[in-house]
């Protein structure tokens, strides 16, 4: 598969994620959109890793595996982040009974 396809695909997913962050008010949805962005990155990394693998397979059979390791770590971090994030969102909800980010306006100027 030409690498550009993957590049464009994941950029598209990434941007869709951004747009989601921009357009939604629900904290949880925004958070999910961020997860979407991360997945776009993952996809791209995997594609690149395979690309580099092709390039350097002759010399080094494990070439390109670092990309996939990276993806692994990203997932790890994402998981941790989600757990904390959801905890915070729940705490928020306990206090103001809403997850609408537009209600987050005590702090400004």
């Amino acid at each position: 598969m030409p690498i550009n396809y993957y590049i464009f695909l994941s950029i598209a997913l990434f941007v869709i994620g951004i747009v989601g962050v921009l357009t939604r008010r629900n904290a949880i949805i925004i958070f999910m959109c961020i997860e979407l962005m991360l997945n776009a990155v993952n996809l791209l990394l995997v594609a690149f890793s395979k690309m580099h693998h092709v390039a350097a397979a002759a010399t080094n059979p494990l070439a390109g595996s670092d990309g996939q390791i990276m993806v692994f770590f990203i997932m790890v971090v994402a998981a941790a982040e989600v757990s904390v994030g959801l905890a915070i969102i729940v705490m928020m909800y306990r206090n103001i009974h809403s997850v609408d980010v537009n209600f987050l306006n005590r702090l400004k100027h």
Partner: protein, 165 residues
């Protein structure tokens, strides 16, 4: 037009479409479901790229764990109706336009890089296999692996600090 190509295109379209649905669907629960679909599509891509380990992890961790967590939270708050009041039109439009422009710019910037001729090897190559990845992870990448445990510890402590009544 081999089967791989068909699959590639199908998965790509599916991923993009479901991603769009995530951002557009009114009901949060639907968004979650669409996101799961997206993840499946991406896992499909992984399989195409013969990165089986990641494909599995993706299904298990994301679709399995994280999204379920999301679902629980949403239901806990019972937001399963489209309760979300609409953001004001202009901001939405501005967001969409900005995102679109960003897409254009990035694509324009990256459309012909020096690697555009290269290809990503599909459905062969062994690095994606659990065995080889495991080797690398526990030899070269053991330090980051251990360090990531700190991340989890702090996440755990955090959950306690935040969650404890």
């Amino acid at each position: 037009m081999s089967i791989t190509h068909l699959l590639f295109w199908f998965l790509s379209v599916l991923a993009l479409f479901s991603a769009l649905m995530v951002t557009t669907s009114k009901n949060p629960v639907y968004s979650v479901l669409w996101l799961i679909v997206t993840f499946f599509a991406i896992s499909g891509h992984y399989i195409l790229l013969n990165a089986q380990f990641l494909a599995i992890v993706n299904i298990i961790v994301y679709a399995g764990a994280i999204m379920v967590l999301f679902l629980f939270v949403i239901m806990l708050m019972n937001l399963n109706r489209d309760t979300e009041p609409q953001k004001n039109k202009w901001l939405k439009l501005a967001g969409a336009v900005a995102g679109g422009c960003l897409l254009l710019v990035l694509v324009a910037a990256l459309k012909n890089t020096e690697i555009k001729t290269q290809v990503a090897q599909v459905n062969e190559g062994s690095i994606g296999l659990i065995q080889s990845l495991g080797k690398v992870l526990f030899s070269d990448y053991v330090v980051p692996f251990e360090i990531s445990s700190i991340l989890f510890l702090s996440a755990m402590v955090g959950a306690v600090v935040i969650g404890k009544k």
